[in-house]
Amino acid sequence: MPEFKIQHITKYSYDNFVRDSANNIILFPIVDIYQDVIKHDLVITGNPQVDTYVDYYGNEVGSFTNTEPHNQLIINSQLLVNTHARALPVDNMFASEQWNELFNLRYIVPYIDFLKQEYFEGLSELQPVVENERKTEDTPYHTALKFCQYVYKNFEYIKGVTTVETTLDEIWKIKAGVCQDFAHLLMVMLRLVGIPARYVSGYICPNRDGMRGEGATHAWAEAYIPGYGWLGIDPTNNCIANEMHVRLAVGRNFSDCSPVKGVYKGSANHKLEVSVSVGYEDNHLPEEKDIFTASTLPKTETTASRNSYARYMEIVQQQQQQQQ
């Protein structure tokens, strides 16, 4: 029953004053029998009133605004979380029976959302890979682990190589990415064979050997296994996500779960720095490790447009686009 102390700081700095910012944060760990939140301190610049609600996927979302001019926004989330290991699937049902069960979930809520795969160009190349990896006698559980290994082995983990706006096509071409890309790829493969797959955002808590994905928010996938439920699989580390993974949110993809997103008014560029540090309860927090700049991390805010004409044309076009 490990207990983790997590500090997650998101810092936006603007090179000019901005105002009227509105933000959504998904930084509240999921609470269930495998995960308890003992303490959660959330400190935000300007002490705004944070309203929370539960979204369609069951995630707790906080929202707040800041209308005053400001040139900095810091969201400091400090957590004390307690996790419990979950037994792995027994996997003693016949494979055919399990595939049948999955087949029958195709048009059932919520699975329907987690089976739909958007089109991307690499799909035609990925299809034979998937067919090749999967053997008919394999259970969904086995298949999921094989796919996880495939992603782990065939894609290179390079910090900062992609951003949240990088498409699956690009990732498929460069055969490299960060944790969210690994998660997305695994989800595509699972969905192709009819295993419902969802995206998970959260934190990874390091063991002695160190793990990929430390120092920032982490992401992995969950596959729906008949007779078991959602099984966390971390293709970045090629392991089952269990008591070392702290879950914040689930969804169809990254954008359903993005930990912090916001928009503001003002013609300023912004820099985003995120740091995540995790320690065991009896130890002090380790030093902050990584500072990411805006180019490598969620760029959800409108960057200043320096071309006023282009901006004007965009406004005209949007006004005309409204239907009915």
Partner: protein, 482 residues
Amino acid sequence: MYQSQHFEKYNLINGVWDEMYSENSIVRHHYKKVIEYLAQESPDDLGKKEELAKNLFMTQGITFTVYNSGEGIEKIFPFDIIPRVITSDEWCIIEKGIKQRLTALNLFLKDIYHNQFIVKDGIVPIDIIYSCPHFLREMYQLNVPYDIYVHIAGIDLIRDHDGTFYVLEDNLRTPSGVSYMLENREITKRLFPDLLPNCGVRSVTEYPSILYKNLLSLSPRQISNPTIVLLSPGIYNSAYFEHTTLARLMGVELVEGRDLVVNNHKVYMKTTTGLQQVDVIYRRVDDEFLDPLVFNPNSVLGVAGLMGAYRKGNVAIVNAVGNGVADDKATYIYVPDMIKYYLNEEPLLKNVPTHRLSNKDERDHVFKNINTMVVKKTNESGGYGMLMGHAATEEEIEKYKLEILKDPRNFIAQPTISLSAAPCYIGGALQPRRIDLRPYALCGPDGIEIVPGGLTRVALKEGSLVVNSSQGGGSKDTWVLA
């Protein structure tokens, strides 16, 4: 009987319901007074009236922009001076039918965003809902005042060759055109001042006051003078004239997204004397652009944080967000089933038979008979992206087929319905042109009200079946007789 030269060129179109003449070229009873009046007028008089109407439209700035027409944004909405007449019996069917339909559609939206009974019971296929881009998961379990989602509906009706009314489509998001209904009547009053009372034409002018009353009743704050605003995309929108007209007629503020700001889950309007809290927003901006925080982050038309205020119940939004799942053309197919399911009633208004192209058998059938079909995109409106099978070239058809095969879910097909014809004053004589009818229904806490009338749209080109204003169609005044 009518020797006037206006009627010489009026040739009935074969196999088409004519609003004025019955099959034996006998003038229908409800058109008699209009026709008698017109017969007395010299062609010169009618020509003058037409000229007057044009001038009035221009000087009053009653415009509708047709994008890419190269005529700038101030293009007048073509108006035909001859009114379209509807009997009180016909109106009775329309009114009852629309009320029934709208009641079911509101129940459907509430259900889809809460318990989803209709999906669980297999009445509406779940994949239609979950593959619809306008099914907004952000609306799930969000409660709206009085469970009303569709406050304003524009239901498009057409008449087949035997005169039966059919619903062609439901417009439940931000239906436009009602200001033209009001303006057409104002102009007609000046063109034919005596004729309206003589014929016993029912009034439509109550529309803005009914809408205003409904907007007031939605205010979350129980105060005597809540702030109501009309949120417009801006001057480049084709219906900007309508936005200004409705705001003026109701006496509410006309705002754009940049005039509003959200603070602590409340919406405020920026005024010269500071921020003023907004209670009700009648928005004419699409869902996708409404809140850049939740929907399209590049939107400059919306208000960041608006959905948060909406969810907290601090502001009412008209129409509700997420209605597109109900007026999607694939959902349309199931509206008669919804009426039976929720109301336990037989639908009073018929649907046009519609094929889902995601179903292979139906798709094959449509491809084989494409010359008699109209193919439409499921979530477009305004007549954009349509294929009229009988008028398209081989090449156009082949190109369109490829597009369909890429994403069949996004297309439906309907047999070409002939649309009824009504007399229009064109080139100095009366000529039949195809028309449809869009009545406007208003749903408030007291129930559904429909002003007797609507927008009759006309396909001005001879032989054309496309009445959409955005495709160069015109309109005429619509008279419902008492």
